[in-house]
């Protein structure tokens, strides 16, 4: 390996020369961005709104998707003056992008773009386009944010990252040369074996980086590895964590082992860096001269200061495929607090991964990542873990054990989980060799399901009343084989809807003889239901689980089972 370049040589010669060669204006954009950050909150908002209005106008004029959407919704970009007006624009989601990828791209030949995709940390990768002209803006912003941490162009950077590898096809000698001339070295977060980590330690010591940029989970793992073996590392000036939620325990162990401050950063492949901590560590400064960031609560309204919600981002620099009100799925707390550093860029608190990455308990409590990471450190020997919600009161706890792991730790963990999540909360421990990382190399350690709702769980379609018996007690007597197929229990509450006369009534199911196809309306319900009426029978439940729990069956005129149904809007049987 060649010796690394002097930071001053890179900063004053190599980098300016390269940028001049590319003619991409990064350094002059950087100057503007440096100025922007010290403006007042109001001045920055003025810049932001000017850019936003320009983008909206452009999108309605050149991007077919937005042109149609605005027309359909009666939205006039010129009339959007405040947040309330802006909120009329529906959210952009990954699904919308996938379904409209053609019409979301500008028809304007003057704007150039390039294809990109997310690593697919959550679900499928998202394919999208970036504006070529936004590249230098993003680069300049990254440099501005490095400077928050006291790091300048050319200083030696060590990156413990995975993102490079999912773009391997692009990798080549030129990429490596670029890294070399920028004083950057890469370590792969994909390989965190003891063997690899030993190698990473020796690279860190000999390269002596000023800055380490890493996924928090990977760097915490490396820190833990060094701490246990009492390995001494070179002390960098700063550490930037990004790409995943940074948990307090991770920050603690990383700062302890590297004796350097951690600067948390939030960003994504779609937008590059959206927010970063400065030396005050007082929340993350939003790059609001380049992005319009909203925090939306679970009811779809803007969160108040101090309240949490989903981050919804509008990229003010991407004209090729405008991202307007894009739902990131990430969660943060909004704050009106100003930072002591004097920057007018607003702050975000407590950015926590994907908004749905929490575990729910039967009492309705939501247990987020902070609890699980702390828990995993209460016993030794957990190298990696993953919590997956399997039902309202059960989880699977996957553990990749280290040498210090003992099976008796399970009961220690289980006790702590029960004291937090309730005694009826069931944990299944699975000790495994490995946990598959997302394609981006990030670890996704909580896999949760959705909130609990009142949903249909059973339906019998097109049944016929075979007889009525007003003298018996109230209830609908149903062939028990049908009840079993539709997963309706004895005495379960049901909603009966009469397609013949429109009557709808609630009662309960009573088991009738199996295989005869009898459905008898007993008691008071026989006033409204007559023999020969065509009915539907439904039962509901409170559940987080959907689809798989929906037993939806079709029967024929003799009430014999025909098949299970998947309903589609507008279908006719």
């Amino acid at each position: 390996m060649f010796p690394s370049l002097l930071p001053a040589v890179v900063r004053h010669l190599v980098y300016p020369f390269y940028r001049g060669f590319r003619k991409d204006m990064v350094l002059s954009i950087l100057k503007d961005l440096e100025d922007n950050q010290w403006f007042s909150k109001e001045q920055i908002e003025e810049i932001q709104w000017k850019k936003l209005k320009r983008l909206l106008k452009y999108a309605s004029g050149h991007v077919p998707y937005y042109r149609d959407l605005f027309k359909k919704r009666g939205i006039e970009p010129d009339e959007i003056e405040n947040l309330n007006d802006f909120m009329k624009i529906p959210f952009l989601t990954g699904n919308v992008i996938t379904e409209n990828s053609g019409s979301l791209v500008t028809g304007d030949p003057l704007i150039q773009g390039y294809a990109s995709s997310t690593g697919g940390s959550i679900g499928d990768p998202l394919y999208f386009y970036c504006d070529l002209a936004a590249g230098p803006v993003r680069r300049a912003n990254t440099i501005r944010q490095f400077r928050y941490a006291g790091i300048d162009i050319g200083e030696k950077q060590l990156r413990l990252w995975g993102g490079r590898l999912d773009r391997a096809w692009k990798e080549g000698i030129s990429e490596r040369a670029k890294d070399y001339f920028n004083n950057i070295r890469f370590l792969s977060s994909f390989d965190m074996s003891d063997e690899a980590m030993k190698k990473y330690v020796s690279i860190e010591r000999s390269f002596r980086p000023s800055l380490i940029v890493a996924y928090p989970s990977a760097l915490a793992l490396l820190s833990d590895f060094c701490k246990r073996r009492a390995l001494k590392l070179h002390k960098p000036k700063a550490i930037i964590t990004s790409g995943e939620t940074l948990y307090p325990e991770q920050r603690e162990i990383i700062e302890e082992v590297f004796s350097a401050p951690v600067f948390n950063r939030y960003g994504s492949r779609q937008f590059s860096n959206i927010a970063s901590e400065c030396k005050q560590h007082n929340g993350l400064h939003i790059t609001s001269d380049l992005f319009f960031v909203e925090v939306i609560d679970k009811n779809g309204r803007p969160a108040e200061s101090g309240e949490g919600g989903e981050l919804v981002v509008t990229d003010l620099s991407n004209y090729y495929m405008p991202f307007i009100r894009y739902k990131t799925g990430d969660y943060a707390v909004r704050t009106d607090r100003l930072c002591g550093c004097g920057r007018g860029l607003p702050l975000l608190d407590k950015i926590e991964g994907r908004s749905f990455d929490t575990i729910r308990t039967p009492e309705g409590k939501s247990v987020g990542g902070f609890f699980w990471t702390r828990l995993s450190r209460t016993v030794p020997g957990i190298n990696r873990f993953q919590i997956e919600q399997k039902g309202l009161n059960r989880i699977n706890f996957k553990i990749v054990p280290g040498s210090e792991w003992k099976d008796e730790f399970k009961s220690v963990l289980e006790e702590k989980i029960k004291s937090n999540c309730g005694d009826n909360f069931n944990v299944t421990f699975l000790v495994v060799d490995d946990i598959t990382l997302a394609p981006s190399g990030k670890s996704r350690f909580i896999i949760s399901n959705n909130e609990e709702r009142f949903v249909i769980k059973s339906k019998i379609h097109k049944a016929n009343i075979t007889a009525t018996n007003p003298d018996l007690n109230d209830g609908l007597r149903i062939d028990e084989e049908l009840m079993e197929l539709a997963d309706i229990a004895e005495h379960e509450k049901i909603l009966v809807v009469d397609a013949t006369n429109g009557a709808r009534l609630e009662t309960f199911a009573v088991r009738g003889p199996g295989g005869k196809g009898e459905i008898v309306a007993c008691g008071a319900i026989a006033v409204q239901l007559s023999a020969g009426d065509e009915i539907g029978i439904m039962a509901f439940t409170w559940s987080m689980e959907r689809d798989s729990y929906f037993s939806n069956i079709l029967v024929d005129k003799e009430n014999k089972f025909v098949r299970y149904l998947t309903e589609i809007a507008g279908e006719k049987f």
């Binding site: 359909k72 249909i456 429109g502 709808r504 507008g570």
Partner: protein, 119 residues
């Protein structure tokens, strides 16, 4: 104590189709489902402002931005095309109600959220 509280209410939607011959329940424009924090299969109470009928059923997802509000099957006895209906969903909660009220335009597209005071 848990109470069953109003969670979402879509106000004054216009029924675009009501046909007994088709399979039942209510089909709702996916955009409205999202904005009202609802989901497919979720139970809803439909109240018919035109004729006073009330009924419970569950949601099927309809085409996004189509403005579709379609009440088919047995329920079509109680609802006709062009009737004006409110659609409500409830949740179990120990906290205070944080209900969403959705106002629509004439084409059943989302117009804005209303506050409880303006109702």
């Amino acid at each position: 104590m848990k109470r069953m509280l109003l969670k979402s209410m879509i106000l004054k939607a216009r029924v675009t189709q009501a046909d007994i011959r088709y399979v039942g329940s209510i089909t709702i424009d996916e955009d409205l489902i999202e904005k009202a924090n609802l989901t497919e299969q979720e139970n809803v109470l439909i109240v018919n402002r035109t004729n006073g009928n009330r009924l419970e059923t569950y949601i099927i997802v309809g085409e996004r931005d189509s403005g579709v509000i379609c009440i088919n099957g047995a329920a079509a006895h109680l609802v006709n095309e062009d009737d004006i209906v409110d659609i409500m969903a409830f949740s179990w909660s120990t906290g205070e109600a944080e209900s969403l009220f959705l106002k629509l335009d004439v084409n059943n597209h989302f117009s804005r959220y209303a506050t409880a005071d303006e109702l």
